[in-house]
Subunit: 273 residues, 2 copies
C-alpha cells in the first residue's frame, strides 16, 4: 500500500486509529480458550467489529512468538484474514527488527513477502545498512523507532549529542537514507511536548504514535502539534480497545471504545481542515 | 546455563568459538533440498561435525523467519537437537529483540522458555525497562548490542555525547541495571582498536564478537585487547565455517574450518595463562 491509499482511507473513515492486536491468552474471554485457535478467533471478532473505525491493525510479534509455532500460525491467519477481507487496511508488523544488511533483507522478506504486511517497525541502533534493506521494498513502509513511549525510552534516545538528542539525530539521519520516502517514525504519545520539535525535522512523514489510552497519552495534545495537512498521524491503541470487555460481548465493547476514539478523531480532522 | 559452566566448557574444549547457524537455502548443498526439512538437516550435520570444537551455536532468527512457519519448526528442531545431544553447548538466539516492559517479557518467554535458549541478543535503543525483563531470568544470559560490526554501526552508536560515544553510554548504563551480572555485550571484531577502551568499562563481562572471518575481523587483534583471565570472549563465525564446502562433504569441510580456528584459539588461550 502506498501513502496516498492510506490518506484516502483516513479521509473516508474519518479516522487515524490503529488497533494493536496484542493478544494475551490470560486476558481474553475464557470461552474462547476452548476454540481451536483462540488467538485468531479473538482477532477475527475484533476485526469484524472494528474494521470500519480503524485504518490500521498492528499485531506485536512478541505476543505471537510467545506461543511458539501455534502463535506464528495465528499471526499468519490474522494477516491473511485482514488482507482478504479488508484490503484497504494498513497492516503493521510491530516487530522492532534490525540486523546487518543481508540479514535485515531476510526479515524484510519474512514480513513484506511471506506474511504480506504493509509495514514493519524497525530499531535504528545498527544504523543505515540495517534499515535500508527494508526501505528497498516498493509500496512497503518502514516504521523506524525514534522516541518511544516507555519509561526507559530516554535512557539512550534522550542522550545529548553535539547537535541534539539521539532521537533527533535518528530522525535527521534517516531522512538522508535511500528511499527515505518509505519511512514513518514511532513517536510516543507520553511526551506530546516533543511533537512540535519533531515536526520541525520531519514535517510531512507519518508518525505512528503509541501510548494513547492505557499508557496515559492525550490525543488532543498529540494532534495539536503532530497533525499535518494529510493527517500524518496513526494513533495506536491496544489494550483499552481490545480488552474493553471480557465476556461473549467483548467485540461489541471493543467497537464502542473504537467508536469513541474515531468520533474524537473526526472532530480533530474537521478542525484541522 | 551459568557463566561458570561456560568457562568450564571453554577450558575443556580449548575453544571460545561460536558457530552462527545462518542457513540460507540458496547456499547449502543442493542434495539437501530434497530432504523433508533441509534447514534442520543442514544444521544437524554441522552440529554433529563441530560440537567438540565450538562452545556455542548461534542461529540468527531472521534466517528462520524468512521461511515462515517451516522456518520456526526448523529453529525449534535445531535447538532441541542441541539441548538433547550436546547440553554443554551455550545456545544464543540472535534475535536482536527489544520492546516495552511487558512485551519484552513475552520475547524472553518465547526464547528462554518455549525454545529453551541459554541466551538472546537484545537491542538497547528502548532503554532499561526494555532489557531488564530479559535479565530477570535466572541462568539465562542477555547479550546486549553495544558496538556492532556493520558499516552503519557507528551512525548512532558512535555519536559523541557529553560523556563518551553512545555505545560506551550503553555499556556504562547497562551495568547499573538489575541483574547486570546476566549481561554479555556484542562488540564487533572489525574495530579491534575499540576493545581496550571497552575493557576499561566492562573488565569482566563476556563479549560476543561477530565479524571474524567473512566480515574481515582479526582474531589475534581482538584477543590482544579483549581476553580476560576467564577468557571473556565468544568469537562468532558463520559463513566461513558453515559454507566452507558445498557438496556431500560440507560438514567435513566445516569441521576443518572450525578446527583451524579452534587450534588458533588454543594457542591464544595458552599464551593468556
Amino acid at each position: 500500500m502506498d501513502k496516498s491509499a492510506l490518506i484516502t482511507q483516513i479521509k473516508q473513515k474519518k479516522s487515524f486509529l490503529c488497533i494493536g492486536l496484542d493478544v494475551d491468552l490470560s486476558k481474553i474471554p475464557t470461552y474462547l480458550l476452548e476454540k481451536n485457535d483462540p488467538v485468531f478467533e479473538f482477532n477475527k471478532q475484533i476485526i469484524d467489529a472494528t474494521h470500519h473505525l480503524t485504518v490500521a491493525y498492528k499485531p506485536n510479534t512478541a505476543f505471537y512468538e510467545a506461543y511458539g509455532i501455534k502463535g506464528w500460525e495465528a499471526l499468519k491467519k490474522t494477516i491473511d484474514y485482514i488482507n482478504k477481507n479488508h484490503p484497504e487496511i494498513f497492516t503493521i508488523a510491530d516487530a522492532k527488527r534490525g540486523d546487518i544488511g543481508n540479514t535485515s533483507t531476510r526479515y524484510a522478506k519474512a514480513f513484506f513477502e511471506d506474511l504480506n504486511f504493509d509495514s514493519i517497525t524497525v530499531a535504528p541502533y545498527m544504523g543505515r545498512d540495517s534499515v535500508e534493506p527494508f526501505l528497498a521494498f516498493k509500496n512497503k513502509t518502514t516504521i523506524l523507532l525514534a522516541l518511544t513511549s516507555n519509561k526507559g525510552g530516554l535512557d539512550f534516545q534522550g542522550l545529548e549529542t553535539k547537535t541534539g538528542e539521539v532521537y533527533k539525530e535518528v530522525l535527521k539521519t534517516a531522512l538522508t537514507w535511500k528511499n527515505a520516502q518509505n519511512l514513518m517514525f514511532v513517536v510516543g504519545a507520553t511526551k506530546p511536548e516533543h511533537f512540535s520539535e519533531i515536526r520541525k525535522i520531519v514535517p510531512n512523514h507519518f508518525l505512528l504514535v503509541p501510548g494513547v489510552g492505557a499508557q496515559g497519552g492525550n490525543l488532543q495534545e498529540v494532534c495539536k502539534y503532530g497533525l499535518t495537512k494529510d493527517c500524518g498521524l496513526l494513533i495506536n491503541s491496544s489494550r483499552s480497545i481490545i480488552y474493553a470487555g471480557n465476556d461473549t460481548r467483548f467485540a461489541e465493547k471493543a467497537q464502542q471504545e473504537a467508536l469513541k476514539i474515531q468520533q474524537e478523531m473526526e472532530i480533530l480532522l474537521d478542525e484541522n481542515n
